[in-house]
Symmetry: C2
Subunit: 149 residues, 2 copies
C-alpha cells in the first residue's frame, strides 16, 4: 500500500528543488511526468488548461524553464523543427519524430549497449570530450504504419 499519493510525491519533488507549489505548477509537472510523447510548450498548455483554467501560455514557459534549471526535465529540438520539446526522462534514450503524426516518441528498444559502443568509439577516435549523446530518428511510428494498412 502507498503511503503517499502521486500528487503528494510531486509536491515533495518540487519543494526539494526549492520551487513553490502552485496549482498551475503542479498541473504542468504532473502532466509532463505522465506524458509518453514529448509535447512543446503549446501542447502542454492545451493539455493542462482544461484541468486548470487559470493558466496562461507564459506560465507554461516559465515553469518549463524552472523545471529544466532544476534538472527535472530535458529541453531539446528535433529534426527541422523550431520548437522546443520537453522530456521528463533525463537519461540517454533515442527519440523518434514521426513524419505522419508529427509526434515525438520515446524509443523503448534495448540500445544502451550500442550507445556505449558508439560512445567509446567516438571518445577513442576523436579526442573530443563528450558530455551527452542525442539520438534522433526520423521516420514513421508503428501506430501510423498499422493505421495505413
Amino acid at each position: 500500500m502507498e503511503t503517499y499519493s502521486k500528487k503528494e510525491e510531486s509536491q515533495s519533488v518540487l519543494r526539494e528543488c526549492g520551487l513553490r507549489v502552485t496549482p498551475q505548477r503542479l498541473a504542468i509537472f504532473d502532466f509532463l511526468r505522465d506524458s509518453k510523447d514529448h509535447p512543446n510548450a503549446e501542447g502542454v498548455y492545451q493539455a493542462v488548461k482544461d484541468r486548470c483554467p487559470a493558466m496562461s501560455l507564459n506560465t507554461v514557459y516559465k515553469n518549463l524553464e524552472a523545471f529544466e534549471q532544476a534538472g527535472l526535465i530535458t529541453k531539446f529540438t528535433i529534426g527541422d523543427r523550431q520548437k522546443f520539446h520537453y522530456d521528463p526522462n533525463t537519461k540517454t534514450h533515442p527519440h523518434l519524430l514521426c513524419l505522419s503524426c508529427s509526434m515525438v516518441k520515446d524509443i523503448d528498444a534495448e540500445i544502451q549497449p550500442h550507445v556505449c559502443d558508439l560512445n567509446e568509439a567516438l571518445a577513442a577516435q576523436t579526442g573530443h570530450q563528450i558530455h551527452r549523446i542525442e539520438i534522433h530518428l526520423v521516420g514513421v511510428c508503428r501506430e501510423c504504419l498499422q493505421a495505413a494498412n
Copy 2:
C-alpha cells in the same frame, strides 16, 4: 590536370538542379561546400558578404531553402538551439556541438558500423519505420580542450 575549375563545377551542379547561377547563389554555395563547421544563416551571411557585397540576409535564407529542396544540403537543429544549421554532407554522420566555442563540427570517426548496428537493433525491436538517424553530441571539441591547457 583538372579540366574544370571548382567554380565551373559548382555552376554545373546548380544548373543540373534547375537553379540559375547568380553571383550571390554561387558565393553561398561555394562557401557552404568548403565549410567544415556548419554555420547558421547569419553565419553564412557574415562570411559571404565580404566576397559579394550585394548580398542580403534574405537572399541567404532563400538560397539555403533552394539548396535544401534540391537535396544539396541538409538543414538541422542541434541541442537546445533555435537556429537552423546547414550541412553540405548529406550522408549520415554525427555532429558535435561544442559548449566552449559554440561551433557545430563534423565527427570524422569511423562509426558507420556502430550506426548500422543501432539501426538494425531499432528496426528489429521497435516496429517503427526509420528513414534517417541523427546523432548529436554535446561536449567540448579537441581544439578547445587543447587551448584550455
